[in-house]
């Protein structure tokens, strides 16, 4: 009688454990898809082109070279005559990667949608123009050797 009772108890615990295991399994699978973009974009990048709504434009001199560091600091090299005159050619800005967007503190609230390959990086941002339309600016970069920017 006692053995039968224990067997029933064992079966109950077994099925209960199985069902709990199933529940945990289902819920643990509900994670957000993670990409490794925040790793891919780390490096030193040289701007090769700029387009506005797909039309080639003059390169953005405020960031001809950018260095995205793993320490969440981005260094931008500004080669405009104004920056050279004011001796502000190096700008440091915090960065983050959230919601599939590259957020550069100095550019917020605008953020960049990155597409990174081994040696190329393109950053696209959308802004309202004066008439309420959307202007898409794309900066293309190629990877260059890392070096200390001081």
């Amino acid at each position: 009688m006692k053995i039968i009772h224990e067997r029933k108890l064992f079966q109950f615990i077994l099925f209960a454990s199985l069902s709990l295991f199933f529940l945990v399994g289902v819920t643990s699978c509900q994670k957000d898809a993670v990409d490794n973009m925040s790793t891919k974009i780390v490096g030193t990048w040289h701007q090769t082109s700029k387009t506005i709504n797909g039309i080639p434009s003059v390169k953005d001199s405020t960031r001809l070279l950018i260095q995205i560091n793993a320490t969440q600091i981005c260094i931008l090299c500004d080669s405009t005559s104004r920056a050279i005159k004011a001796k502000t050619t190096i700008t440091r800005s915090g960065w983050s990667y959230t919601g599939g967007l590259f957020n550069l503190a100095i550019d917020l609230p605008a953020s960049w949608k990155p597409v990174a390959e081994a040696n190329t990086l393109s950053l696209e941002r959308s802004d309202f123009n004066q008439t309420g339309g959307i202007t898409k600016t794309t900066l293309s970069f190629e990877r260059v050797a890392n070096f200390d920017i001081k």
Partner: protein
């Protein structure tokens, strides 16, 4: 019978799991470019000016949003600001929070007469002809205080093409805020523009409109904003 019990034990977590899944809206659905199509006040459609009618929202997945409208476009000789920004978040798939610029009425009254305190300036019209006029710029800066605060909207509908959100708030909280496009008649341009500050501010508070505005800050109404998605 035993098999039935075993099946029931196995199905129990599935039932529990599915019953816990409420009809919640996913934040991804809010991301994209939205065009405001209508605003109602206590169920009555509001008449929007062309400047308000141009209102668009660009909601980014990183928690920032930008808003476009032409309420202040004529300022600064036609080069007034048209793009504004804040943050957004979704709460429990039921509410959506937007932070926005608002103004609080802080207009002081004279202790002896309950009249609105205004600043004045002398205006020379010609030699020996000087008049005293209200210094609007100085006065409004003492009457309104700007702050950036969160407003919580109830999501009534959110799909790939439509967004309908509801906000119960005081009339003044909606009127004197960038939520989402204010009526141009409720704001004035600051000339000359104060350095590092907005060039727009709610209108001058006088003895004629002081109590009207005070009442607006004490009257609760329900607003429903409808948007149509333009692009993802």
């Amino acid at each position: 019978m035993k098999t039935v019990y075993k099946l029931l034990i196995l199905l129990l977590p599935v039932l529990l799991y599915t019953s816990c899944q409420k009809d919640e809206y996913k934040p991804d659905l809010a991301v994209g470019l939205w065009k405001q199509v209508s605003v109602t006040e206590d169920g009555t459609p509001m008449v929007l000016t062309p400047e308000q009618d141009s209102c668009k929202l660009l909601i980014d997945a990183n928690g920032a949003y930008r808003c476009y409208h032409q309420s202040f476009k004529t300022y600064n000789n036609g080069n007034g600001p048209t793009s504004f920004y804040g943050t957004w978040s979704m709460l429990e798939g039921t509410w959506i929070n937007f932070t926005t610029d608002k103004w609080q009425l802080i207009a002081p009254l004279r202790s002896d007469s309950d009249k609105v305190v205004l600043s004045y300036k002398k205006l020379v019209r010609a030699a020996n002809d000087t008049i005293t006029v209200i210094d609007t710029l100085k006065s409004v800066q003492k009457q309104w205080s700007q702050y950036h605060i969160q407003s919580r909207f109830t999501i009534l509908q959110l799909s790939g093409s439509d967004m309908e959100i509801r906000l119960k708030t005081f009339v003044g909280e909606k009127k004197y805020a960038l939520l989402f496009a204010p009526a141009p008649s409720d704001f004035i341009e600051l000339k000359p523009a104060p350095e590092g500050k907005s060039i727009y501010i709610p209108k001058l508070v006088t003895d004629q409109n002081y109590w009207i505005i005070r009442t607006e800050y004490q009257t609760l109404k329900t607003y429903i904003f409808k948007f149509k998605k333009v692009t993802n």
